[in-house]
C-alpha cells in the first residue's frame, strides 16, 4: 500500500494570488506536454471539474471536493481511469513571510481495489501510467 505523497513549493505571491493562479490559470502552468492525456490540449477548472480538452475530445481529471480560498483546495484525481476509483489531492496555501508555502498531499490509494473495473483506456502514455500505478498500488 502506498502512503500519501506530500510535496511542497514556495511561491512568490500572497496566498490569495497563489490560489487564484493555481486554479484560474492551470492551463498556463501545468506541464501538459509531459503530463497530459492528449499532449496538445488545454486544461482548466470548469465549474467543479478539472477538464483537459483537445479539439472535440475531453478528459475529466478530477472533481473539486473542497473550495476554501485562499487557504485550501481539494479535488479527486483520476486522469485516465474511472471516477469511482479516484485518488484524492489536497493543496494548501499558507503565508510564509512575503511568500506562500504550497503543500500538495496525494492520498486515497486504498480506494483502488478494482482497477480492472475502474480503468477506461484513453490510449498510452500518462493515463496508462497512472492506471499501471493503480494496479501496482492495489492491496491484494
Amino acid at each position: 500500500m502506498i502512503p500519501p505523497l506530500r510535496r511542497e513549493v514556495l511561491v512568490t505571491a500572497s496566498p490569495e494570488h497563489a490560489f487564484a493562479l493555481f486554479t484560474e490559470r492551470i492551463g498556463d502552468w501545468w506541464p501538459l506536454a509531459r503530463f497530459g492525456v492528449f499532449g496538445d490540449g488545454t486544461v482548466a477548472f470548469e465549474e467543479r471539474l478539472i477538464v483537459e480538452r483537445s479539439g472535440d475530445r475531453e478528459s475529466v481529471w478530477g472533481e473539486v471536493t473542497s473550495w476554501e480560498p485562499p487557504g485550501a483546495l481539494g479535488f479527486t484525481w483520476h486522469p485516465g481511469y474511472g471516477s469511482g476509483h479516484a485518488t484524492d489531492v489536497r493543496v494548501t496555501f499558507e503565508a510564509a513571510g512575503e511568500q506562500t508555502l504550497v503543500t500538495l498531499v496525494h492520498s486515497g490509494w486504498e480506494r483502488m481495489t478494482d482497477p480492472q473495473a475502474a480503468r477506461r483506456e484513453y490510449g498510452n502514455g500518462w493515463p496508462a501510467v497512472l492506471a499501471g500505478f493503480a494496479a501496482l498500488a492495489m492491496s491484494s
Binding site: 505571491a13 502552468w29 506541464p31 482497477p115 501510467v129 501496482l136
Partner: protein, 103 residues
C-alpha cells in the same frame, strides 16, 4: 527519470502486463496459472513476464519443482518516485509561472 523507472513505466503501459501485475497481487503464481486466467497463450505470458522482470517489477522465485513469479518487493518504489517527480515538475512549473506573473 532513472532508467529503471522508465522501464517500469514502459512495462506498465501495456494493458495485458497490468493484468498480469493484478493477478500477481494474489500471490506468487506459476506461468501456466497466469495463462489460464488471461486471454493469451503461455508463450505470450512468458514474454510479458520477461519484460516485467527486466523492469524490476516482477521476480522469479523457484519453489521446489515449481517456477513461480511474484511481485518484486521494491517494484513500487520506482513508480512512487515517478509520481513524486510529476508533482515536483508541476509545482516547480507553477512557482515559475507565479514569478513571471509578479514581474
Amino acid at each position: 527519470m532513472s532508467n529503471q523507472s522508465e522501464l517500469a513505466l514502459d512495462a506498465l503501459g501495456d494493458p495485458m502486463r497490468r493484468r498480469i501485475v493484478e493477478q500477481l497481487h494474489r500471490g506468487p503464481t506459476p506461468v501456466g496459472q497466469l495463462a489460464e486466467a488471461l486471454p493469451i497463450g503461455r508463450p505470450a505470458v512468458s514474454k510479458h513476464l520477461r519484460v516485467l522482470t527486466n523492469a524490476g517489477l516482477v521476480e522469479f522465485s523457484p519453489r521446489g519443482t515449481r517456477n513461480l513469479y511474484a511481485l518484486a518487493p521494491d517494484g513500487q518504489r520506482e513508480l512512487q518516485q515517478w509520481l513524486i517527480s510529476m508533482w515536483d515538475d508541476a509545482l516547480t512549473s507553477f512557482a515559475r509561472y507565479v514569478d513571471e506573473e509578479q514581474r
